[in-house]
Amino acid sequence: MKNRHSQYPDISDILAHKAAGRRQRAALSFAEKLVILDALKERVGPIVQAREFRRRQKLKSMSPRG
């Protein structure tokens, strides 16, 4: 069993680094952000397609005709 007084690492520098990254990305131009969004969409494309496929399969299996 873990001691209630266990020492955990200080992650405030990691959190501060992440916040700085968010601020940096927020400060990009709209055009630069659009390019990022295009890339994100392409990257998750296969996941979205798989989700759509599962959704269609589920609907098909629920329909009265099978």
Partner: protein, 187 residues
């Protein structure tokens, strides 16, 4: 596939008169103010004055469909019209808040390097936040949190909008859910 081109097509619809007043809304509008987050579609808020309205209240977006077809965009998906690889949803103004947001939308430089430079209308940060509070889904509240974290809001303007549209209670509920002190109280 390019969101820039998608927005360019929307501006062409406005030039041709297929849509009158419009503004980029939703996650892509938020992009103008905060860090990029994934979205699957582009929301365009449009005025409904010149659209045919059925007795049932249904609004027909036929002029948009026709203009898109003339430009070669005939594909539709569950989430909207497919334009340059992005589903686009045209959302007719559905509340006084939407109407005000559309009225006060700002002109955005999408791409100044283009020839001619591409400009489009986009909702203001304070209206995006008010609409998100009104919708109240978890993803909307997360967006409000991002706007607050990234300190891009005029809090006095936010309070004014929320008050005029009877959304202060919904705002306080958001603060409770987010576990934050009400930042408007300090403004």
């Amino acid at each position: 596939m390019s969101l820039r081109k998608t927005i360019e097509v929307v501006t062409k619809l406005a030039e041709q008169g297929a849509i009158q007043r419009y503004a980029i809304a939703g996650a892509v509008a938020a992009l103008n103010y905060i860090e990029p987050t994934l979205t699957e579609d582009l929301d365009i808020l449009v005025s409904v004055a010149h659209f045919e309205r059925r007795q049932s209240g249904l609004i027909l977006l036929t002029p948009i469909e026709k203009a898109l077809a003339n430009m070669g965009y005939t594909e539709r998906s569950d989430v909207g019209y497919m334009i340059e690889g992005w589903p686009v949803q045209f959302l007719p103004v559905a509340s006084a808040l939407d109407e005000e947001a559309l009225e006060k939308a700002t002109e955005l430089d999408v791409d100044l390097a283009g020839n001619p430079p591409l400009k489009a209308r986009c909702l203001r940060a304070e209206h995006i936040v008010a609409i998100a509070v009104q919708l109240g889904r978890l993803k909307d509240l997360a967006r409000v949190q991002a706007f607050l974290d990234q300190d891009v809001l005029d809090l006095i303007a936010v309070e004014d909008i929320l008050e005029r549209h009877a959304l202060l209670e919904a705002w306080r509920s958001f603060c409770t859910k987010a576990g934050i002190e009400n930042p408007l109280a300090a403004s």
